[in-house]
Structures are given as C-alpha cells and as structure tokens.
C-alpha cells in the first residue's frame, strides 16, 4: 500500500492503495466517484473513459502510481450542473437506452470536440469507435456529437 495525492475534478484527494490499482477502482471503490464504469478491464469498451490532462484515457488500464499530479476529470467533474454542451446534446437527442456506457461515451466525445470542434461524420465515428454501446445507440450518439459541435 502507498499513499497518493491525486488531482481529481480540481480537488486534491488522498488515497492509500496498492500501487498497481487502476484509477477505475480508485475512483469507484475509494473515492465514491461511480460514474466511471467498469466494462471490460482491458481498454476495449471505453466505459471507464476519463480525461487525463484533457485527453480521453481508459481508467481501467491507468495505474494510480502512474498518475502523479496530472489533472483527472471524471464525468462528475465534466460540468458543475450537468450542462456541458455534450451532456446537453445527449439529453436533447435522448441518446441513452440502458445508459451504462454513456458516461464513457460523453467523456470520449467531450475530449474529442475540444481538439476537433468541427468534425466530419467520419472523424466522429473514428473517435467514438473505442466506446461500445451494447444497446446500439450509435446513430443517436453521432447525432448528439454533431449537435454539441454546433453549440
């Protein structure tokens, strides 16, 4: 076990965990930030996507010991009132079915739009390809990303 001071959603948080612990489980089991989801544990599904210094990153493969003082943003910290343009677009289009993958989808989409505010359909699809939606909301996801890009 070791103590780490993490910079999460703009707040310093201290945890005492094994150095090999992935950020996914640090967030969920130790910091009560459960919006970051467990889906596969091997960076294949994207349900655990967070921002590491603004870049979409899979929390299931990111060990706590490798984070240092880098800035982590989770879905809980994406906006204070749930009114980030991507979140608003998701509600407007009524994207979710079961909803389990959607936090990860939103984190991928929001990091992507920061870097590419006017994407083509193809660019959106490639950016979102790492996030599986088992319910098949892909066409609505694409529509919501386009809507968020406009705003």
């Amino acid at each position: 076990m070791a103590t780490y001071t993490l910079n999460i959603n703009g707040t310093k948080q201290e945890v005492d965990v094994d150095p090999s612990t992935p950020m996914l489980w640090v967030l969920r089991d130790h910091l009560n930030l459960v919006g970051t989801k467990y889906g596969c544990g091997i960076a294949q599904c994207g349900a655990c996507t967070i921002h590491l210094n603004g870049t979409a990153t899979r929390a299931c493969m990111l060990t706590v010991s490798s984070v240092g003082d880098q800035e982590i943003t989770t879905i809980e910290g994406l906006s204070e009132e749930g009114d980030h343009p991507v979140q608003k677009a998701w509600l407007e289009v009524d994207v979710p079915q079961c909803g389990y993958c959607q936090a990860g989808q939103i984190m991928t989409a929001s990091a992507f739009l920061e870097k590419n505010p006017n994407p083509t359909d193809e660019e959106i699809e490639m950016a979102m390809n790492g996030n599986i939606c088992r319910c098949g909301t892909y066409t609505r996801i694409k529509k919501a990303v386009k809507l968020a890009a406009k705003s």
Binding site: G82, P96, A103, I132, T137, T139
Partner: protein, 733 residues
C-alpha cells in the same frame, strides 16, 4: 369512455391503513436521494398522500408515480408512469418517477422480459391513474357539495364549471385518502390521449449523463465487502480443490471458500436456469484486491461430463437436420407429393453460433443477509421468482427477503436468470456481512446462459406459374428446438411441414433478445428471397402474395396461425411506400418482415458500395406495435434492435474448444462499433389505435434477413452462416 372494473391488482388500490389518515409517506426508493430538477426541489410538497400503490399526490399537486417493472434500457421507467399520468390527468412536468421495489401485494408481473411490460401493464397502469382521479373528483364533489360526474379534470386541476369552483389535486389529496376506492372507473378512449403518444425524454437522462449512481455496480454501503467468483474454466467440470490458505493471507482478502449454489433439495424456479452448480468465492475489501486474489488462486477442476467443442455441436446439429421427427410440429397437406410435382425446388441450410449477452454492466448484486432478514439490491429482470429461490436457499421465509431493483446496464434476457442473486445471498450469509458480488467481464462472458447455436434447413416447391406449393422446414438448436410451427408461412401454403429437434448439451443456454426469432427470422426471410427469385418475382410482392393467400383463403384453421396476415401485410406495404421500393437507387437493397412479441416489423436495408461486408447506409423500418406510448423512446428501441441484429449476425460468435469458451472479453468477442452502424434509420409506426404490444425485441429478427438479402444484391452471394464476416467464399485458383 370505457368503464372498467378495478379488478386487476385489486390490492394495489386498497390503501394501507397506516397511511390512510393522510400521514407522510416516506419515499422508499434508495434512488429517491438522487438529484431532482431544481424546479422540482423548490416545489417539493410538505406532505405526500398515498392514493394507491402506484402513486401519491403531494399537497402542492406534485405526483410521484412508481414504475413497477425492472428497467433494463427498454425505457419502461418513463413509459409506464406516462400511462398512469395520462389517466390521472396530470401535467408530465409535475410528475416524479420512482422505481418500485418488488411488491407482489401491489403489482402484478414485475418482470422485464418477452417485450411484455407495456402490453401486460397497460390495463392496470391506466386503472391506477383513473382510480386516483376518480377519488380526487369524489373528494372535490363532497367539498363543493356537487356531483362528481359534473367535475372535469385537466393537468392536475379539478373544475366544476357550473359553480365556477376549481382546485388543484394537492388541495383535495388529503380528503381523497378517505374516499372509498371505486368499484368501477372510466378509462379514456384511445385517440383522446394527451401524454401517451407524445415524445417524453428518459426520466433518468439527467442522472445518466452526469454519472450518478443508478446501477447495481454503483451500490456501496457502510461496511460492505466485495465478492468475486471463480468458476470452472470449461463446461462439464466439477470442483476438486484449491490453495485457499495462501490466497486468504493476501492483502485485503477476508475469505475464500467453495460453495454449492444449488445444493440438492433446493426448489428451483425457471429463473434459476443457467448458472454453475458450484463455485469458489473470494471476499475482500475492494474489487482490485479480489481481482489480484483471483489471479493467484489455483483451483483444481476435473472433467465430469463431455468436453464439447463447436465442431461437435455443428456436426450433431447437421446430423439432426437429416433426421425426420416422429411427430411433426405441424403438417398441412402432403409436402412430398407436392415436391414430386413441383416445377422448381429450392433448398438451403442456414446456421448461427452461440452468442453471449454481454450486457455492458456485468452481473452483480448486493446482499446483506442477517438472521432477521435478507436485504437484496441490484439488477434483476425476474425479482419475483428469484426471491423464492433466495428464501429456499437461505432457509428463510419469503417474507424476510426484500428485493429492490436498480436500473440495469442492459438485460437482453441475461438478467432473467438470477443464480448470481443466490450466490450473493449465500456469500453474505457465510461471511455475515453486507456484500456486493461482482463478476469480471471474463466471468460474465464465460459462464454460459448463451443464445443457443442453431441450424435450419428449408425446402420449397414452386409450380410452373411461380406459386409456392410446398414448404418444409426442419430446425435444430442446442437445448432448444427453434421452430415456431404456426408462424408464417404456415397458413399461406397448401403443403406445409415443420419439424424440430433439440440437441442436449452441457453448455448452458437461455433466452437472448427475441429468443429463437433472433435466428429463425433471419433464415426464413432470407430463404423467402431465394424462393421469390426462383419464382421470378419481386421479393416484397412475393411476400404480399402469400399474405393475400393467408387473408383470403387460409390453410388450416386460421386460429391456429400465430399471426394476423393483414397487419403483417400492412407493415410491408408501409415500408414499400416509405422506401420507394422498386425504384432503382443504384444501391443494393434487401427487404424482410417478421412477427414476434405480438408486433409486426418490416424493413428495407440499403447498403453502401464496397468492402468485405458493405456498410448499411439506410434503413426504412415500419412497425405495428399498436398504440405507441412514447415515440421518441420507441424509435430508440427499434433503432437499437436493428443495430443489435445487424451487429451480432455480422460480427459475433461464442465458440468452444474442449468445453472451454474461446472468447472471454471484447478483444476476442467482436461487437458492432460506431463506424459499422447504419448511417441513417427511419422508423414509421402504423397508427391503428390497437392496445400496445411488444417493442423491445421485434425489430431485431428481421434486420438480419434484410441485411443478408441486401448483401446478396451487393455481392451476388447468399450468406448462410453467421457471423457473416466469416462467411467467405472458398479461395479459388
């Protein structure tokens, strides 16, 4: 208006005497603590009045409606309360929705499955709203000394026009609790709805997009331990021994033990299908520590029954297709005689592999078992059945078992089967602590309860005018006999023979979204295309011709046919019009239609050019599911079902080598992704005012055939073997 007796779920309408005095009703959902809209928070009533088990009215007119059924993403948590709100005559913005716990005294059929939540809940939900509205009217009538019949309601306001009196529901809520529950209530006429049939956004949407705790895996409680399981690496194995002591001393690990999920003598429910008889449990402080212990644990398993491989399943199923059954499932006329006179005969065999459900949220459940009671919380589609097995397994009366349902990260049939609820309960009882059981993705994907693998052989005979005169289908599946003998084209062809076989295997199987239909529709509707081509007819018109036959001159007793040919033809005609079928768009197109879960769906799929498996460009989909409660969400279900069908038939498979699953995570099990999904989808509903039928499943099955029929047009090759991505022509030269 329709006058109905308040007979269904009668106990729901008898108020709890402890609350009848108008006392405060405490919200009993743990989710109630989740964030409401700022407007709702500002307007929270000081008192809630319970009018029946489905709803309570606040002193300020806000209404809380309980959503009785489990939410697996089919959106019943929005659509079921919409039906209550419609008959109550309350504005939707004044409604708060809560997930009801399992309560068999109040609710009937608290089950998510078979696309039946809305169809079977339709009457009781309407009655719940209408009954409460009637009681509010009676209360106002007494207060104003007028007849209740003269009082009208709209958006939560009671009005007596003659006297000019009016009051909000909140003002009459307290008095309404003293009104006797009416024996009969008026329901609105179909077609006069103001909430039903309008787009309403998912009530959990704001929580979903902000990552609030909604799902079973999000449950964390004081003193809670985490549990994980280790199951045999292959089917047909039993437990021998393990190095438990070494693992118990690992950091954070509390206990490691072997247990039987279903010891002999435990009465099982149908929901106990699947699962594994005996497991090893690891209990610890955190998920990651349990995962580390899982890696370190060495369990010895020994083969107990045949180690089956995919090659074995395929050979056995193929052999069954050559074997006539002793008693056919259905026989009209004489197919052999008809084939002997046929001008043309078409014959094809189709097959599909096992599939895993792969809900994005793996199986999990929270259990806190004490000698006094068992508190259970998590994602389960069948709480009522599971509760009984939990009681039997723990040796406790069923009254001491409380099950609450969380939102589910997908179901697709997987959470109909609750062995993991039993496992969580047993583990909590053993370690005497609150426990959350968590399956890893690998545990989830390799534990069974799969969609069976299937093979089916069709043979059709045409006369010299291209009329279908004979149809023979023989199907086989693993632990499932596949054929619905009374579905189309039964009733539309003079000589018809349906035969079905089941191959018993030790790889466990279960219902998977649109069971059986998810394969047989794709096969049947692809074969119809082959037959239409042999007949020299347009495939859509050929189908309509068959439905005309079933409408005008059905074969056999029309009651024996499962489908209504006029509604079936109706969706085909609608999709024909919407897709401009018959015009040359220069792109490959396919059509299919299917009936299941009481609903009719027809689709036209159009492909882009190029690629091994060209991508779907456009889909036109026509649906007859009766009254549509919430079109916005209904379209979401239809879109998702088609993408599910296209994705699995194109990319997905579970295969086995010596009993061991060869796929265990999304690196080896391929699911459809964003860039492979259809580009455009249009959904059209038939507006016929008929009571609502299934929606969650019916769009999936025909999509597979609409796709494969379009693939044939694009590539010149029929696709007989799923997943289509592997169905490649042999290399020549």
């Amino acid at each position: 208006m329709t006058l109905v007796k308040t007979k269904i779920g009668r106990r729901a309408f008898i108020r709890n005497t402890g609350l009848a005095s108008g006392g405060l009703v405490i919200g009993f959902s743990w989710l109630a603590s989740c964030k409401m809209t700022p407007e709702q928070v500002n307007n929270l009533p000081k008192e809630w009045f319970d009018l029946n088990g489905f709803l309570k009215v606040g002193d300020n007119g806000m209404v809380t409606i309980m959503s009785p059924n489990p939410e697996i993403g089919q959106n019943v948590k929005t659509s079921m309360p919409m039906i209550v709100a419609e008959e109550l005559d309350i504005a939707w913005k004044d409604v708060i929705v809560e997930q009801a716990p399992l309560n068999t005294d109040i609710f009937t059929r608290q089950l998510a499955g078979g696309s039946q939540s809305i169809r079977q809940g339709w009457e009781s939900l309407r009655m719940a709203g209408a009954t409460a509205k009637q009681m509010l009217k009676e209360a106002a009538a007494q207060a104003w000394n007028v007849s209740a019949d003269e009082i009208t309601t709209k958006d939560g306001v009671l009005t007596h026009e003659a006297s000019g009196k009016s009051a909000g529901y909140g003002e009459m809520a307290s008095a309404a609790t003293s009104i006797e529950v009416p024996e009969e209530v008026q329901l609105k006429d179909n077609g006069t709805f103001s909430i039903i049939g309008t787009d309403k956004k998912n009530v959990d949407g704001p929580k979903i997009v902000t990552g609030k705790p909604l799902f079973g895996l999000d449950v964390y409680k004081e003193g809670m331990l985490t549990a994980m399981i280790v199951h045999p690496p292959a089917f047909g194995m039993k437990y021998k021994g393990m190095n438990a002591d070494e693992v118990k001393s690992m950091p954070g690990i509390k206990d490691v033990f072997h247990f039987e999920v279903y010891p002999e003598g435990i009465e099982k429910q149908w929901s106990d299908q699947g699962g594994i008889a005996e497991l090893v449990a690891i209990v610890g402080n955190s998920t990651w520590e349990c995962m580390q212990a899982k890696k370190a644990l060495e369990v010895d398993w020994e083969q107990d029954s045949t180690a089956e491989s995919t090659a074995y399943h395929e050979e056995e199923l193929a052999a069954l297709l050559e074997k006539p059954t002793e008693t056919p499932a259905r026989k009209d006329g004489d197919v052999d005689a008809a084939f002997a006179t046929a001008a043309k005969i078409v014959e094809s065999t189709y097959s599909a592999p096992y599939l895993a459900h792969n809900t994005m949220e793996p199986m999990n459940f929270f259990a806190h078992v004490t000698p006094e009671k068992a508190e259970l919380l998590g994602p389960i589609q069948t709480p009522e059945f599971t509760e009984k097995t939990v009681a039997a397994r723990l040796g406790m009366p069923v009254e001491k078992i409380d099950i609450m349902m969380t939102r589910m990260g997908g179901g697709f049939g997987r959470r109909l089967y609750g062995p993991f609820v039993i496992e969580a309960s047993v583990i909590s009882q053993k370690v005497n602590a609150p426990v959350k059981l968590v399956y890893s993705r690998e545990d989830d994907m390799t534990q069974g309860t799969y969609r069976p693998s299937y093979k089916v052989k069709f043979k059709a005979g045409l006369d010299d005018k291209g009329n279908l005169i004979a149809w023979h289908v023989r199907g086989a599946g693993t632990n499932d006999d596949l054929i619905f003998e009374n579905r189309f084209p039964a009733g539309a062809v003079d000589n018809y023979l349906a035969e079905k076989h089941s191959l018993q295997t030790n790889v466990t199987t279960g219902a998977w979204r649109a069971p059986r239909s998810n394969f047989i529709a794709g096969a049947e509707q692809a074969f119809i295309d082959e037959v239409a081509e042999a007949a020299g007819k347009d495939p859509l018109d050929f189908r309509l011709e068959l439905f005309d036959r079933a409408i005008n001159n059905p074969v056999g007793d029309p009651e024996s046919n499962d489908y209504d040919p006029a509604r079936y033809a109706g969706v085909l005609k609608l999709v024909k019009e919407k897709a401009n079928w018959g015009t040359d768009t220069g792109k490959a197109r396919g059509v299919a239609a299917y009936y299941c879960h009481n609903s009719y769906v027809a689709q036209v799929i159009e492909l882009e050019d190029g690629g091994d498996i060209p991508r779907v460009d456009n889909i036109w989909c026509a649906v007859d599911c009766g009254i549509v409660i919430n079109p916005l969400a209904a379209k979401n279900q239809i879109e998702g079902g088609m993408i599910d069908g296209i994705g699995h038939s194109t990319y997905s498979a579970m295969t086995f080598k010596d009993g061991k699953p060869e796929q265990s995570n999304f690196d080896t099990y391929r699911l459809i992704r964003n860039s492979e999904a259809p580009k455009n989808i249009e959904v059209h509903f038939v507006d016929n005012g008929i009571d609502p039928t299934g929606l969650g499943e019916p769009s999936l099955p025909p999509a597979i055939a609409a796709l494969s029929n379009a693939l044939y047009k694009a590539t010149g090759r029929r696709y007989y073997k799923q997943p289509f991505i592997n169905d490649k022509p042999p290399l020549v030269g």
